[in-house]
């Protein structure tokens, strides 16, 4: 197990490095420079050149990359070209917003999806078909549209939940939950549908496997067969789907954050990209990559714990 963890850790570090390198090279391939961004449209070419030199933009690429990596090791993401703000502090305040929505939506998708999927597989019949059809419909609904619909029904019409904004957990846990409820629900509907379909298919397959028949033959209680033995085996693909789900939710937060006016990483990346704020943009990429890699690592470990074959691979 230790060797497995070491391999995954090494892979995680390499993944982060590659992501940083790619974003670094993309920034350098753009048709503008940090000096031009910092000084604005009215700056002369000479002023821009001088600013670029001051910022180290003219140094060899390998040197700039090395400097940036050294900066990252010190957990320093630099300052914004636009307004000089500390990027690390800015992203630290935004990370909980995106993370709380992505984590809650993933967890809720997992719980609801597994419950529905297992029910569909175990009960079958009309209920199973209804769950299958319902999840198919839910899968085809765009998240943005679901969000708009939820806002209209639960906020504008019923007045139950706030339509926009974010309240930090530390300020008021109750209002925090209110503020993330609609975005989480909007993301959960599609997410739970994917998990339900995956868990239903996986559960059906496992319930027909030889070792399950053997357990039945030995007189193992049916509930234990279903919810301990079969569910454990069926959980491996579900965990993989949840991992992908989290990555998709975390990386694709721009639309939902705009719809609900949430001050998260998606909003920061949009602002950084549109203003050419290179350090802020690379900072978002770094933070997002680290989070995704860490979650992947966690899921790998969970999968390994569930399935000994994975550890041996």
């Amino acid at each position: 197990m230790l060797a497995f963890v070491a391999r995954r850790l090494a892979f995680a570090v390499v993944t982060v490095l590659v992501a940083v390198l790619i974003s670094f090279l993309l920034v350098h391939a753009s048709d503008t420079t940090p000096g031009a961004v910092r000084l604005g449209a009215g700056a002369t070419a000479a002023d821009i050149a001088a600013e670029n030199a001051r910022l180290g933009w003219d140094d060899p690429l390998w040197q700039q990359f090395g400097d940036y990596l050294a900066q990252l090791v010190r957990l320093d993401l630099g300052t914004s070209l636009i307004d000089g703000r500390d990027i690390e502090a800015d992203l630290a305040s935004r990370l909980p917003v995106t993370a709380s929505i992505a984590v809650l939506a993933t967890l809720l998708s997992g719980v609801v999806g597994v419950l529905l999927g297992v029910t569909a597989a175990v009960r079958g019949g009309r209920l199973g078909k209804a769950i299958s059809t319902g999840s198919g419909i839910a899968l085809s609904l765009p998240q943005f549209w679901v969000g708009v619909l939820l806002v209209y029904v639960l906020s504008l019409q019923a007045g139950l939940l706030p339509a926009t904004g974010y309240v930090p957990f530390s300020t008021d846990p109750g209002r925090w939950l209110q503020s993330v409820a609609l975005p989480v629900l909007a993301l959960t509907i599609g997410g739970a549908a994917i998990v339900a379909r995956t868990s239903a298919a996986s559960m059906r397959e496992v319930l027909g496997a030889e070792h399950i028949r053997t357990l039945r033959a030995t007189g193992t209680p049916e509930w234990r067969i279903r919810y301990v033995h079969a569910l454990r085996s069926a959980a491996v693909p579900v965990v993989a789907v949840l991992g992908i789900q989290f990555i998709a939710l975390f990386g694709g937060s721009v639309i939902i954050e705009n719809l609900f006016a949430l001050p998260g990483l998606g909003q920061a990346s949009q602002a950084a990209a549109s203003s050419g704020d290179f350090p802020a943009l690379v900072g978002v990429v770094v933070v997002a990559t680290v989070v995704v890699v860490l979650v992947n690592l966690l899921l790998d470990l969970v999968t390994a714990a569930l399935d000994p074959k994975v550890r041996a691979a």
């Binding site: 031009a36 604005g40 914004s80 939940l161 339509a163 008021d172 109750g174």
Partner: protein, 515 residues
């Protein structure tokens, strides 16, 4: 089998529990305002401080935000009248070339220093900084060029103008008249992260997230603290038009501005709105010398754009409620002349003739930079112009930096411009002395009319304003399309009706009161 039923039940219970828990906390979900404890929440459709807290980097429209942390020499009230703020009054010389301003003596800045004449002088000396949008008219060559600022005593400053300024209170007002504290003036880079003003509120940096929300808290010791109603003001940035409307409808914002016209019905169905005209949508001609596109050096070509634009059709099809216009000055302002709309109405034959007279019988090609997709107005006008031989090509900017740079790379721009209650000031600071004229093109007639508009009063000024307005269309310095209305939504349960600064399209923040 019972277990399975239980599983299904748990699944639905989980969803229900989440919803109920979410609904149960706090004080009643989204239907209640957050302003119950002395907090006013104002939602903006764009970031009010995208490049930091130097108010002079911005135009008048941002004064709603900056007025919480900064004071100006004069500030526009809800009737559109300039009222003394940091200034207590002024006298003009007989020729209107010198203005002597007296200052308050009880004003303190966030850096601990006091307002005096030296500080006002230091502020106005920054007019040489080309990045300061607010000072475009004060810089050399500007229509309200300041040639000298002298300190005669600690509370008196004398400003010398290059051309007569009969109503300096309309020039040194709101953003243009904002005074930054000594630390900010000495090192403007510090303003990127730290405001330095004398306003009734100070920024709570810990409770603010750049481009998302800004929280300011009241300084009870401020000289003007009693004029403000709220202990805390939260400014939120909601760039999605629908989300902005949702915020005021469901109570997360007490006031939301600027509402997109498509959301007005929604807001008015549950809350209330206020509106003001004064926004002229159109094409500023940035290349009046022909340096970018030689065709634009001909006044006939620029006039052809005006005659080729079917404004009324565009308003009828896309903007019911707006007003088609061929002039820069909004209806109701001094200088507005209905005859200009008639004289420069849609006439495609005349547009073709003008192009031919200018030597372009086969038409011209025009580039227009857009950020993302061109809006529906630009697309409609593209088709109208094509009928007379003007080929409008959209160039997609990949960054806001590139979009802003279009003032130097394209012959025209397109967008809504808040002209407001003082069109001459807008012409001085933006059309002639600002980003719409980076080429510093000169037209003696326009300069003379602008000078008279700023340097005279009464009937003489009224005539000069009318002439200035007419000339801007006649010389093709601006291609107006329609006058739009600016809407703000408000939660009538929590705040009284907010007011715009006269016909300016920004709200008077200090005038917002609890319901």
């Amino acid at each position: 089998m019972n277990r399975s039923r239980t599983t299904t039940g748990v699944a639905f219970a989980a969803v229900a529990a989440f919803g109920l828990t979410a609904c149960g906390g706090g004080s009643g979900g989204g239907s209640s305002s957050q302003s119950a404890e002395g907090t006013l929440t104002v939602a903006f459709d764009a970031d009010a401080a995208p490049t930091g807290y130097d108010p002079l980097l911005y135009s008048q429209g941002q004064f709603t935000f900056f007025s919480s942390m900064y004071d100006a020499l004069w500030e526009t009230d809800t009737d559109g009248v300039s009222q003394p703020s940091l200034a207590t009054g002024y006298t003009n010389s007989a020729d209107n070339l010198q203005t002597t301003i007296t200052l308050r003596d009880d004003v303190t800045f966030t850096d601990g220093s006091s307002l005096d004449a030296d500080l006002v002088k230091a502020n106005l000396e920054r007019r040489t900084d080309a990045d300061l949008t607010a000072y475009g008219a004060f810089a050399a060559g500007g229509a309200s060029e300041i040639t000298d600022v002298a300190v005669t005593d600690p509370q008196t400053v004398v400003i010398t103008w290059a051309a007569p300024q009969a109503t300096p209170e309309n020039t040194l007002v709101d953003t243009q008249g904002t005074i930054v504290g000594p630390d900010g003036v000495a090192d403007p880079d510090t303003l990127e992260t730290t405001p330095d003003g004398s306003g009734a509120y100070t920024l709570d940096a810990d409770a603010s997230t750049r481009a998302s929300s800004y929280t300011v808290t009241k300084n009870a010791d401020n000289w003007d603290a009693d004029s403000w109603s709220y202990d805390t003001i939260v400014f939120t940035v909601i760039t999605d038009a629908q989300a902005l409307a949702n915020a005021v409808v469901s109570g997360q914002a007490d006031v939301a501005t600027i509402l997109d016209p498509s959301t007005i019905d929604l807001v008015e169905s549950r809350q209330k709105t206020v509106s003001v005209g004064g926004t002229i949508v159109g094409f500023p001609v940035t290349d009046k010398t022909g340096a970018i596109n030689p065709a634009f050096g001909n006044v006939e070509v620029r006039q052809a754009l005006i005659y080729a634009t079917d404004r009324q059709a565009l308003v009828d099809d896309l903007h019911p409620g707006a007003r088609a216009t061929s002039q820069l000055f909004p209806e109701g302002t001094a200088g507005f002349d209905a005859a200009v709309d008639t004289e420069y109405a849609y006439d495609p034959d005349k547009a073709r003739q003008l192009l031919a007279d200018a030597g372009y019988p086969d038409g011209i090609e025009v580039n227009l930079t857009v950020l993302g997709q061109p809006d529906e107005d630009a697309v409609a006008i593209q088709a109208q112009w094509a009928e007379v031989g003007i080929t409008l090509t959209f160039v997609t900017a990949t960054s806001t930096d590139q979009a802003f740079a279009a003032v130097s790379t394209d012959p025209i721009l397109f967008g809504p411009f808040g002209i407001g209650a003082n069109p001459a000031g807008f012409v001085a600071g933006v059309v002639v002395g600002g980003f719409m004229n980076l080429q510093q093109a000169q037209d003696p007639d326009i300069s003379a009319a602008l000078g008279a508009s700023l340097g005279t009063t009464g009937d003489t000024q009224a005539q000069a304003l009318t002439q200035l307005n007419t000339l801007l269309t006649e010389r093709g310095w601006y291609v107006p399309v329609y006058e739009d209305f600016t809407y703000a939504g408000y939660n009538a349960d929590s705040v009284g009706e907010p007011s715009f600064a006269g016909t300016n399209n920004y709200l008077v923040l200090s005038a917002i009161q609890p319901a």
